[in-house]
């Protein structure tokens, strides 16, 4: 009897300790979730406040009772936000399409074809992965300027249509496709390109989707190169657009309208993320940077 009571007591105290531990863990996690979410809440909230009521607030208000969509109207009419969005869309789509074509061909050559100098070329490719962008951007700037491609989409797009890392990622995936499929296709007289299109690409679609998503995120957020290569607002992407809006857009003090622009710019990627949540997180875990 005595021992049984002890046992109950131990169990109860262990239970209490565990619950207390969980409370601490959840509190910590909730705190960080708050830190992450608060800026998003604040930007949506501010974008719904009217210009007058925002500027009348001496102490910031945590909610608003009279939300207005006027700021969103201003964001599209007073500054060329729509133009920035279209530019970014064009830039993102074309860059991603060209890049997928280029890296698929290269990855196929490395994974499937046999040719002289393949190993040497692959080693060279791998060593290029270590080159930081900051080193090459200077000459690229001069090259594009000398070609007269500043303020053009060609100038914006061309330097970012290859990625050694994505070629590597795709090659690894291509190499996993059994050789027998290739030989079977060869016996049937299928040309290489057709084999690539009908067999390799469908099998490796998950990796390709991952690469596309990562590239889209990168394109949507790119700032440095577009800033160097464009000074004509007609060719601004969203990052430069928001910087332009901040420096001489609505007049410095119209913060609610700026926040409306920020919300509009942030929504596409957040939607993309919420729809492809698993894909995005898996992709970043495999090949992401920005750490």
């Amino acid at each position: 009897m005595e021992t049984k009571k002890d046992y109950n007591k131990i169990q109860r105290s262990a239970h209490i300790r565990k619950t207390a531990g969980n409370v601490v863990i959840y509190a910590l996690l909730a705190l960080w979730a708050l830190v992450v979410l608060f800026p998003f809440y604040w930007m949506v909230l501010t974008s719904l406040k009217s210009y007058g009521s925002y500027n009348a607030e001496h102490v910031p208000a945590f909610f608003t009772l009279s939300p207005t969509l006027q700021n969103y109207v201003d964001a599209f009419t007073a500054v060329p936000l729509g133009q920035y969005l279209i530019n970014t869309l064009i830039f993102t789509v074309i860059t991603t399409l060209i890049m997928v074509a280029v890296i698929t061909l290269a990855a196929f050559a490395f994974a499937r074809l046999e040719f002289r100098g393949k190993n040497l070329a692959f080693t060279l490719f791998l060593s290029l992965m270590m080159i930081p962008n900051e080193l090459v951007v200077i000459t690229n700037f001069t090259t594009i300027t000398n070609l007269g491609w500043r303020n053009t989409f060609i100038g914006l797009i061309l330097p970012s249509v290859t990625s050694v890392f994505y070629i590597y990622l795709l090659r690894e995936n291509f190499a996993q496709v059994p050789d027998e499929l290739y030989y079977a296709a060869k016996v049937d007289g299928t040309p290489d390109l057709r084999y690539l299109r009908k067999v390799m690409i469908p099998i490796c679609r998950p990796t390709l989707i991952t690469i596309v998503i990562l590239k889209v995120i990168e394109c949507w957020n790119s700032y440095v190169w577009p800033r160097l290569i464009t000074d004509d607002p007609d060719y601004y992407l969203v990052s430069n657009g928001i910087q332009e809006i901040r420096e001489n857009g609505f007049g410095r003090e119209n913060i609610p309208a700026m926040m409306a622009a920020v919300v509009v710019i942030s929504i596409p990627l957040i939607l993309l993320f919420l729809i492809f949540r698993r894909k995005v997180m898996e992709g970043v875990a495999r090949g992401g940077t920005k750490g």
Partner: protein, 297 residues
């Protein structure tokens, strides 16, 4: 299998063309630039070959300021973000309900535009003539006096920059650490539990050694990433970073290249190569340290 020499190179051609023009050639060219003294981008001429560009950059107070800022940023944010991410990942891996929700929320900063959300941070921290801003409101609640975090004293601006940088880099670190923690074999934990090992001891003796390669990977990439900080600072303080005393090394490179103080590709090249040398040195030191402390299985 017959050789397909021509075909193989044909498939590689587009990739090689782009990489050659936009990566291999620039890589050689940047070294050439950095040794050409008095290069004039209009006439494309230079006077002499030598180390003058490096000496100019190393004596430029703006560059020294940028180096100082970058080092402070690196030293504060890398350990802080890695430690915090480890703590949060440990928390995440020990709960079941709401875990997915938390993971989704934590990942959001990764998919946001650095420039756009930086503007929100600026507004939260900024003190204007008619309102002290939200962060200062919190500071006042805790009995402090208002500070202008955006145009105010150096330490306040550095604080905001570090805070924003940590906020931006956390998603990647949490994601990587969570998956590393999930891959630790449960057998070790069960064995430890049978022996009645305390939570802290389990962490020190099992979890940490098992995930040490991942932690180490994050520290290295964290160092490299933080040394290249730039757009976070622009997002908070605007494009004229020199005036705000908040420039970073990468920012210095771009300012030298382009903008109001630009037009000096030689100085920009020298600064970029110095940055590369710093990053390489730090990475090598990291690798040497890791040999002693990282447990590879």
């Amino acid at each position: 299998m017959e050789k397909q020499n021509l075909k193989g190179w044909l498939y590689l051609l587009p990739a090689f063309l782009f990489l050659g023009v936009f990566m291999i050639y620039p890589l050689i060219d940047v070294f050439v630039y950095s040794f050409e003294e008095g290069y004039n981008s209009a006439s494309q001429t230079f006077f002499d070959v030598g180390m003058y560009n490096y000496s100019y950059v190393l004596h430029d107070p703006y560059f020294l300021q940028a180096v100082k800022n970058t080092f402070i940023l690196v030293i504060i944010t890398v350990p802080l973000s890695t430690g915090l991410a480890l703590l949060i990942s440990l928390g995440l891996s020990s709960i079941r309900p709401l875990k997915e929700l938390f993971q989704t929320v934590y990942f959001l900063p990764y998919v946001t535009n650095t420039l756009a959300v930086g503007l929100v941070f600026m507004i939260l921290f900024k003190k204007t003539a008619y309102s002290d801003g939200l962060v200062n409101l919190l500071v006042n609640w805790f009995g402090g006096t208002s500070v202008d975090f955006i145009d105010g004293p150096y330490w306040a601006k550095m604080f905001v920059l570090c805070f924003y940088t940590v906020w931006v880099v956390m998603p990647f670190k949490i994601l990587i650490l969570t998956s590393a923690l999930a891959s630790v074999n449960q057998v070790y934990y069960n064995a430890a539990r049978v022996d009645g090992t305390s939570r802290f001891r389990i962490f020190r003796r099992i979890t940490l050694p098992m995930i040490s390669p991942t932690v180490f990977y994050l520290i290295i990439t964290g160092f490299i990433g933080a040394f290249k900080a730039y757009s976070d600072a622009v997002a908070l303080f605007g494009t004229n970073l020199n005036a705000a005393e908040m420039n970073t090394i990468v920012g210095y490179v771009y300012d030298m290249l382009y903008g109001d103080s630009g037009g000096y590709p030689s100085y920009a090249s020298a600064a970029a190569i110095l940055l590369f040398a710093i990053v390489l040195t730090i990475t090598c030191i990291n690798l040497l340290v890791s040999r002693k402390h990282v447990h590879y299985t």
